[in-house]
């Protein structure tokens, strides 16, 4: 750990009103050159704007939204849908059926039966058909890609093996967005686990010639796909670029999602250090001298979720045990480690969620945190004030092959 350096850098970033920063290091000990000022890409053919705001329900916190244009394949019959959540924790484009007005064709199995998908989240699931669409993200296009239409009324019967995950998230009210733009480190949402007949039963892809629907193997090409990987260029990853956010919270925070890594003048790696992950996208975080495996970076998580009240020395909120509510803001540090031996020191602050949420017009919080026993889930607050590169698996970049994270 480089405590002295961290404190100095933290003070510098304090002046920019953010308490969360990364100092890239080699092997976790030797500081590299000072972090240059953050530059957020202006509009361009490989850039779409992202904004943290209250979202379609007017109650969201720390969700980065964007809009996507999708079209009936091969036509100019298109629809632009806003309120799409940016998610680096999953791969694939998903639209809530209530937000979709296009007649997208179904993806079908070898027998011509429509394919329906169950995407399981931590304690919820989203059920809906797989359909084919063209996606346009600024100047980038992904033609004929499988997308999920969540809550598709044509397939109301959710099989038990899907709903066993818990509550459904099949409406805008329960999903919190009009859709999900999954631009994580994976090419497909499932991968080989779903493509091998007789392989692992992931309870993910189904056909429904009869009720109940039955799980089926689906080829990689038929799986819901990370749209970035399907672009003809700028397809090796993305950069999430969000500005610093005041410690008292902000009504909005606006930045950019940039496509490609090292493919254009606006997406160079620069001084960012790449941390490779394991095949599941995971890496260790060291906190208070102890290493915790299985960490994730996830714009789809609204807070910095780590460890527990006792280990972190942070009181839970009296009215919500999923957030911390320390009496005064607490400054903390941790070190994230790549499997390639590279490391980055993270300095962050945890403030009381109750205090932050007291003003209901605010949606962006750099210091919102909560428990995650034994684990680190670096949610959206991690992304404020720095550009974070997401390297897609098996794709070549100037930093090597994905999966990796860089900042």
């Amino acid at each position: 750990m480089t405590g002295g350096l961290l404190r100095r850098t933290a003070l510098t970033v304090c002046a920019f009103s953010s308490w969360l920063l990364i100092t890239a290091c080699n092997g976790g000990s030797t500081p590299v050159s000072p972090t240059p000022p953050q530059a957020i890409a202006p509009a361009g053919p490989n850039v779409i704007p992202i904004t943290v705001n209250l979202g379609p329900l007017g109650v969201a916190d720390n969700i980065a939204y964007t809009s996507v244009t999708i079209c009936v394949p091969g036509t100019t019959t298109c629809q632009t849908i806003d309120g799409i959540q940016l998610d680096t924790g999953s791969s694939g484009l998903r639209i809530l059926s209530s937000a979709l007005s296009l007649p997208l064709p179904s993806e079908t199995d070898a027998s011509g039966h429509p394919i329906v998908e169950c995407l399981q989240f931590v304690a919820s699931y989203s059920w809906g058909s797989v359909r084919i669409a063209d996606a346009q993200l600024s100047g980038e296009q992904a033609h004929g890609i499988p997308v999920q239409v969540i809550g598709d009324p044509q397939f109301p019967a959710v099989p038990d093996s899907c709903s066993s995950t818990g509550p459904s998230a099949d409406t805008v009210e329960t999903f919190g967005a009009n859709g999900l733009l999954g631009v994580g480190v994976f090419r497909q949402d499932c991968g080989s686990a779903c493509s091998v007949a007789g392989g692992a039963n992931t309870n993910m892809y189904f056909t429904c010639p009869n009720t109940p629907c039955q799980t089926i193997a689906v080829s990689l090409a038929q799986q819901v796909v990370n749209p970035v990987w399907m672009f003809s260029s700028d397809n090796n990853g993305v950069i999430v670029e969000l500005p610093p956010v005041a410690t008292t919270g902000q009504a909005t925070a606006s930045g950019s999602l940039v496509f490609g890594i090292g493919t254009q003048s606006n997406n160079a790696l620069g001084t960012a250090t790449a941390l490779t992950t394991d095949l599941d996208g995971l890496f260790p975080t060291v906190y208070n001298g102890r290493s915790y495996s299985g960490s994730i970076f996830d714009t789809g998580s609204d807070a910095l979720y780590f460890l527990d009240s006792r280990t972190a020395g942070l009181a839970l909120c009296p009215d919500a045990n999923y957030y911390y509510c320390p009496a005064t803001p607490q400054n903390q540090t941790a070190t994230v480690q790549g499997l390639n031996g590279k490391a980055g020191a993270v300095s962050f602050q945890v403030a009381s969620a109750d205090t932050l949420f007291a003003n209901s017009v605010l949606s962006a919080f750099s210091n919102l945190a909560g428990p995650n026993p034994g684990q680190f889930d670096w949610g959206l607050p991690f992304f404020y004030g720095r550009n974070v590169f997401v390297g897609i698996e098996s794709q070549s970049t100037p930093a090597g092959f994905g999966p990796f994270w860089a900042f």
Binding site: S124, G176, G191, D280, D377
Partner: protein, 157 residues
């Protein structure tokens, strides 16, 4: 991916009981129900280890998740379950009669902002902690009243 938390149980404290038949059960139920549940989860293999006052039954489910069930030796009942894997196990099977309580707790944990992130359900008769993302899930659940006396919940991994 290495199994998380194995080091929480000192390997030397484990007595591998290879002679015990393959076994698996549901939270709150008797160990005797285990084989039936193993079949319903399409478990591929099981192993058994013993701790201080409890036994740990481990299996890999059809979804590829590793599930560990903790059986109290005094009562023969499953007092805790832990899981980890690319995909989640069937929670109807794992939670058994606690499933509806889990669903209600999970609904509350998502809050009124459709919050997405790790979930901690802490009720007098059921504690559930779960997190991760697609392709990397983990979690554990236990019934405090069924735990062996003086057992550290940190052992449940």
């Amino acid at each position: 991916m290495p199994l998380r938390g194995l080091r929480a149980i000192s390997v030397s404290a484990l007595l591998l009981a290879a002679a015990t038949r393959p076994a698996f059960a549901t939270l709150g139920e008797q160990e005797a129900s285990i084989e039936n549940d193993r079949v319903r989860l399409q478990g591929a293999r099981t192993s058994v280890a013993a701790g201080n006052g409890f036994a740990v039954h481990e299996m890999v489910t059809a979804s590829g998740a590793t599930v560990r069930e903790y059986v109290a030796q005094a009562t023969g009942r499953v007092f805790a379950v832990a899981w980890q894997g690319s995909w989640q196990p069937d929670f109807r099977q794992v939670f058994g009669s606690y499933f509806q309580q889990y669903v209600q707790g999970a609904q509350a944990a998502h809050g009124n902002r459709a919050r997405r992130g790790p979930v901690v359900i802490e009720q007098s008769g059921l504690v559930v902690e779960m997190g991760g993302q697609p392709r990397a899930f983990y979690g554990r659940a236990y019934v405090p009243q069924l735990m062996p006396q003086n057992m550290d919940t940190g052992t449940i991994r």
